[in-house]
Symmetry: C2
Subunit: 166 residues, 2 copies
DNA sequence: ATCATTTTTCATTTATTACTGAAACTTTCT
DNA sequence: AGAAAGTTTCAGTAATAAATGAAAAATGAT
């Protein structure tokens, strides 16, 4: 496969993959593009290479910075900003995991916890509380596992271990 | 909190949660409704309780059956079909995980593997292959972890362990 | 302080995804 | 076989999410 074709496929696939997981296509594509670019890119580079508008490029670059997946870079003697992606896949995975955990999983755990106080003693109420409680336990456990596996000390260990296995 | 309010909140939250993760709102809501219903429901019950159309109810019930999250149930002396959700949260988590792994993760692992054969020796090509290879390793590892943690023997063990801890 | 360049915002447009509802189909009963 | 009850399909419509592009704001050089 030629580089050009491979890059194109990669960007498209990463975009589609993202949108299946609730991340918008452009954001994922911008990320993909930066991942496989050796040099930092300007907003215009991103616009051109992905055929997207300035507004779109800007919004998604900022979103990626929020997620700690992309950094702003200043080149000496250049006025405009450049962008480069974090390239270490463990770090990428960690940042994505922590961000989604914080934004989505934690609020769900909290809400499920609140259902403990549902009033009544009917069979209906008991069944409801059982389900809410079980889900609370499950999401709480998942939360704990993710917390542990994304802690920077664990990350450090895993990185070290994986470099030994190379 | 009153049961009625709690149920409503739960259904809405589960729907919103689902849509953040690429599962459509109605499907998640139908699932939520069945999860907290003590008796199996008919298509009409679902339509009424969620204010959705027959077509929508039918499509999403079938999708949930595909995902092994819901079973068809026949009541003696009743002609129409009833639906009930799998209630064990470990089993639910397993089925969701396996289904998404199969539909989305595995194809991505496969695609990333194909990039190994990208031709050329320039720095650009090397950088591309490095990234694709790293992502291939990472997604492959995630795939393996999920495979292990959703195998029925592990499930059996975890269920047994968690019932001992009750 | 001015002006040229770059970045950000946001009302409007466009694209995508999901839902509706009526018709077609299937099943089961008499 | 015909009718009644129930299920599925799918073309058309609606709702939602994302992108555009032009204007406003910010930046920084002179």
């Amino acid at each position: 496969m030629e580089l050009h074709e491979a890059r194109e496929k990669f960007i498209q696939a990463w975009g589609a993959f993202g949108s299946q997981w609730g991340i918008n296509r452009s954001m994922a594509q911008v990320h993909a593009l930066l991942l496989i670019s050796t040099e930092p890119l300007s907003t215009e580079d991103v616009m051109e290479q992905l055929n997207i508008s300035r507004g779109n490029a800007n919004m998604n670059l900022r979103a990626l910075i929020d997620w700690h997946l992309v950094d702003r870079v200043l080149k000496t003697g250049e006025r405009r900003e450049f962008f480069q992606a974090e390239k270490d896949v463990w770090t990428i995975a960690t940042h994505i995991t922590r961000e989604r955990k914080k934004r989505e999983l934690e609020p769900m755990v909290k809400l499920l916890g609140e259902f403990k106080e549902t009033s009544g003693h009917s069979a209906e109420v008991k069944a409801f509380k059982k389900m809410a409680g079980d889900l609370h336990d499950l999401t709480g456990r998942i939360d704990a596992v993710l917390e542990r596996s994304t802690r920077s000390d664990v990350q450090w260990f895993l990185k070290a271990a994986s470099s030994l296995l190379r």
